[in-house]
Symmetry: C2
Subunit: 329 residues, 2 copies
């Protein structure tokens, strides 16, 4: 920005007590009301954090170098900042805020850092895992709307680890995607595929986030689960996962993703199913009925919840592109 174009209030001699208001003031020329509000809240919390901890220069530097290392370990296939957000509970919180669910709809959960855009489009019945050591698992699901009508043509992104607990992208020498697919629901809202039984696995713990978990005496395991992401025009984007009930990490997921409504019991393929779906009788299966919320319903609920929360916090706000900003009028 050319300084001559900038209208900055005079600032000098800033102290522990007056710096926050002054930094807010210098940022207050921001033309985007939402960014302005977000930055105003960041400055307040960052400064309050320093004042409440009496943060030392050494701790400040340790923190900045920690964040630097989190950024530097990120690659096209590893997102350590998502992982950091996950283990601090921020990811789940943001999903809960942004994708509120009316009763009887499918709850969301953490995206995690391993979704990729490499998945192949597959037809119903496809084998999406080629790990010979994985235990075969038939996955048989359908999708309805909140009125109980089947939803056709939903794009479903599915991803899980191999039998060793690693996603394809964690293998440097991999040849292509595996244990992931993009599918579409049929006229009855059905989609089904052949995968493997999910296993528990550690989140990547060789980086700064793993080191932090050790410091906090937390383990880095996630319970067995399979990720699903649903997209269709007119419906709220749903990021969720199904978790195996009884997993040793069911109540201690390193990233706080488990919800009762997303727990499933592993079933067993009947002889009729074996014939119908071309799998072995007695092999494992997962079934689930997903319920998508319409975009309108989700938007209304999100905005209603937002305004109620703002009121409860004593803030006078209005909605701007569906998100709260201070109401200056």
């Amino acid at each position: 920005m050319d300084p001559s174009e900038v209208d900055v209030p005079p600032l000098k001699d800033l102290t522990i007590d007056n710096i926050t208001d002054n930094v807010k003031l210098i940022n207050s020329k921001c033309a985007n009301p939402r960014l302005k509000y977000i930055v105003e809240r960041i400055v307040q919390h960052l400064h309050d954090f320093a004042r409440e901890t009496r943060l030392s220069h050494d701790e400040w530097m340790t923190g900045l170098l920690f964040l630097t290392s989190v950024g530097q370990i990120c690659t096209d296939v590893r997102q350590e900042f998502i992982l950091l957000s996950d283990i601090l509970g921020l990811s789940l919180l943001v999903d809960s805020i942004d994708h509120p669910k009316p009763p009887h709809s499918t709850e969301g959960t953490v995206l995690g850092p391993f979704h990729s855009h490499e998945a192949q489009s597959e037809p119903n019945g496809a084998v999406i895992s080629h790990d010979p050591d994985g235990e075969p698992c038939l996955v048989l699901c359908d999708i309805k709307d909140t009125n109980g009508a089947p939803v056709e043509g939903v794009k479903i992104d599915i991803w899980e680890t191999d039998s060793k607990g690693f996603y394809d992208v964690q293998y440097p020498g991999r040849e292509g995607p595996d244990q992931r697919a993009v599918m579409h629901s049929d006229g009855e809202g059905v989609f089904w595929f052949k995968a493997i039984v999910p296993v528990p696995y550690p989140i990547p713990h060789d980086g700064p986030v793993g080191k932090l978990l050790v410091q906090l005496k937390r383990h880095c395991y996630r319970p067995s689960h399979m990720h699903f992401m649903f997209e269709k025009g007119g419906f709220d984007h749903l990021i969720t996962a199904l978790y195996l009930r009884g997993d040793p990490y069911e109540t201690s997921d390193a990233v706080f993703g488990v919800k009762e409504s997303l727990l499933i019991d592993l079933g067993t393929v009947s002889s009729e199913q074996a014939q119908k779906y071309g799998v072995k009788e007695g092999s494992k299966m997962i079934g689930y009925n997903f319920v998508l919320v319409s975009e309108t319903e989700s938007k209304e609920l999100r905005e209603k919840n937002a305004m109620e929360a703002m009121k409860a916090q004593g803030r006078t706000m209005k909605l701007w592109n569906g998100l709260p900003v201070p109401d200056m009028d």
Copy 2:
């Protein structure tokens, strides 16, 4: 961490309202009381921030990618997270908390991202800037303690930009350090050297922090200044800078560093000084009397301020390695 060694409270079905307490609970096994307190505060502020803004998934992702880019632009000679901390006022705030100054001692200010460990040790009288376009400037300073006694043998790190407003480390092809030196005060507490008149300059603005400043309609300029860092056993580490009074950015420093007590007027070398210091009569000069605080005095003041602040915040705390932690006794 081996999960069997970890004692984690059962967590499931976390919501907007209960997630914060539960994340704190899972982190509460941390053995280091200071880290535990710091992380507890981070979780509270991070979650409150999301609840107060009703942070959307897109905004969350934008933020994480922003932090990733801040980390990824960092190199051995560029620290973008320090820059981010600087423009948000956190750096100055932390310096004020960690290095409290009794009256009449020299105030501290931001370190900035351009201190390096490459500076050569130089004797009094050294030429520390070799930029032929710089305006020569004699710098003549002394160091006293708070009782007015000269302090000998202080290690002084000095750094400034060249006449174009760039630090040596910003030139990829540079041959070695310039516009920086490490010196030591003599028996009278004096140190002096030949430098150039500081110029205003933009902080690096080709990265994510520069882009943020544009969004906030802030300029990226720092007023003309010269950095100083003082170290001697028994004295509190002092990071400071001298600013030229009347600089166009005197009251709008992009990183909030200017303090009235650190403003200086450029002087003119007298004929006597010209002869004594081997510089041209009428050339520019900077003089300053630095006053260092003893480590004991600084520690006492820091701890007293910390405990008073904690009390004012309604927190029952005790000191642990000189820093506050919750007092559970």
